[in-house]
């Protein structure tokens, strides 16, 4: 009975996240149930990873499935944590009133649309211009996920749409600045190098 109730709760939460994200993210961030988010995150990521790895293995590409699965799951988890941390920092700077755990839980549910990639890719294989359809499906899922991130930030920290959007792009701006700086430093170093490599032994 408890299990059935839990399953019902999960199924309803998934539906709400997909089709009524505003209300769903409000409830999820208020309850801040990280355990539920972790389960949903694991299921969503696992479905996507299994799809990719099984597809590659099917095509005859050598793929150490268990190893890649574990590594990729770990990386995805770290990214979930990092995104949530950066979103929370950005939200706090812009006057947000939510909790880190509430936002973390809500962001975990934002990964749900990824499960649609697997059936979309299978569908793409049966239509003409399959690569275009596959890329389009990836694009749609990315936009959907970003929209859910946006709602998670807005509902958990009670921010306006504009501020929520700023918080959403905050990590990408940071990343761009970071990589620009790294590229500048590397090119500065390499501009000195020809004098070293010019001598042949």
């Amino acid at each position: 009975m408890v299990g059935e109730r839990l399953m019902n709760v999960f199924l309803e939460m998934i539906f709400d996240v997909l089709f009524h994200p505003r209300q769903a993210m409000n409830v999820i961030s208020s309850s801040a149930n990280v355990g539920h988010s972790l389960i949903i995150f694991l299921i969503s990521e696992s479905i996507l990873l299994w799809g990719i790895l099984l597809g590659a293995d099917n095509k005859g590409l050598f793929v150490p499935i268990p190893l890649i699965f574990v590594i990729q799951l770990f990386i995805s988890f770290v990214l979930w944590y990092l995104f949530s941390a950066v979103f929370h920092l950005g939200a706090e700077l812009l006057g947000g009133k939510g909790t880190a755990s509430g936002l973390f839980s809500a962001v975990g549910f934002a990964y749900v649309p990824r499960i649609f990639l697997v059936p979309l890719w299978v569908l793409a294989a049966f239509v003409p211009n399959s690569s275009v359809v596959a890329m389009l499906s990836v694009f749609i899922v990315i936009v959907w996920t970003l929209w859910l991130f946006f709602e998670a930030i807005r509902q958990s920290h009670q921010l306006s749409s504009v501020r929520s959007f700023c918080v959403l792009i905050f990590p990408f701006v940071i990343a761009m600045l970071f990589f620009t700086l790294v590229a500048a430093i590397i090119s500065m170093i390499f501009s000195k190098l020809p004098f070293w490599f010019g001598q042949s032994l």
Binding site: L11, K59, F116, W121, V122
Partner: protein
């Protein structure tokens, strides 16, 4: 209730999709293939040993022999095209690779050579043992002959005040040493060796091209020929480019339609940096000749001026 039903339906779709990805349209499952044409590249100098990479200064034909073995063992490969773009190299290295070509042919798989810009001397040694030779009309080929290079630096050493002395176990231990002139006896010894290797080369060409040895010797005075000339003389079978050779190989293997090509010897970026490579730096090889005395004694099947 409606929400649950919709989500359950979505989950079913996802599960079916997963199963389809796992088991559907497998390229690993046995699907009748018309067979593939293997392509092996012989570029640059033909030198024995392991090949050269950025961090490794060995260069050699071991990798070519590995590729020939791989083509022999691969059941999907029905014929092999050896794409030769080489001015030649060492006689023993050319011989080693030629033996592997013969072993590959003995499995019943046709081996066709396609000459690029140049397939001379050692390059022609390899081509001669294949079933059919394709060359472009302007390809440079031929140069059937052997030489052993020797340099005498005695006068230079005198000029710069270096005197060399060797304590030898036998009179000919330092034969071909650049520090002194060659004696007549030594010259005769080397000449016999060169003649022996020349006879081997001529034998290979005669067997491979199904020509009389006398006829081969008339052509094998070391000169180079264009593809056109070589065809007229019977040293080459067809005039055509690489894809003509591929089509010819497909025809010989009985492959109908456009043949699928599998290139051997494609490395990963990691192996390009740290592993053997077929690209050989010719200048570095010849510079090594001066530094490394071993290289000075290699019998060469390559035109002197290249």
């Amino acid at each position: 209730m409606k929400k649950k039903s919709i989500v359950i339906v979505i989950c079913c779709f996802v599960l079916i999709a997963l199963l389809t990805m796992a088991f559907g349209n497998s390229s690993k499952s046995s699907k009748k293939s018309a067979g593939k044409i293997g392509v092996i590249y012989v570029d640059g100098l033909i030198i024995g040993g392991r090949a050269q990479s950025v961090l490794n200064d060995y260069n050699g034909t071991d990798s070519i022999m590995k590729q020939l073995r791989a083509a022999k063992d691969d059941d999907t490969i029905k014929a092999v095209v050896i794409r030769i773009n080489s001015p030649g190299g060492s006689a023993p290295a050319s011989q080693e690779v030629a033996e592997e070509v013969k072993k590959l042919r003995s499995t019943g798989k046709p081996v066709i050579s396609s000459m690029g810009d140049v397939a001379a001397s050692g390059g022609y040694w390899l081509a001669a043992v294949t079933d059919k030779i394709y060359a472009n009309p302007a390809t440079l080929t031929g140069s059937i002959g052997v030489y052993m290079p020797y340099a005498n630096w005695q006068e230079l050493y005198k000029k710069i005040g270096i005197s060399n002395e060797k304590i030898k176990s036998g009179p000919h231990k330092d034969i071909l040493s650049p520090e002194r002139s060659m004696t007549n006896e030594e010259r005769a010894i080397i000449q016999v060796m060169v003649d022996d290797m020349y006879e081997q080369f001529v034998q290979v060409v005669a067997e491979g091209r199904k020509m009389d040895i006398k006829q081969v010797k008339q052509l094998a005075d070391g000169r180079i020929y264009t593809g056109n000339q070589a065809k007229a003389l019977g040293l080459v079978d067809e005039l055509g480019n690489f894809y003509d050779a591929v089509d010819g190989a497909a025809q010989m293997a009985g492959i109908v339609g456009k043949p699928e090509i599998k290139e051997f010897g494609q490395g990963s970026p990691f192996s390009m940096l740290f592993g053997p490579s077929e690209k050989i730096d010719i200048q570095q090889v010849f510079e090594k000749k001066i530094i490394n005395k071993f290289m000075l004694t290699l019998p060469m099947v390559i035109p002197e001026q290249w």
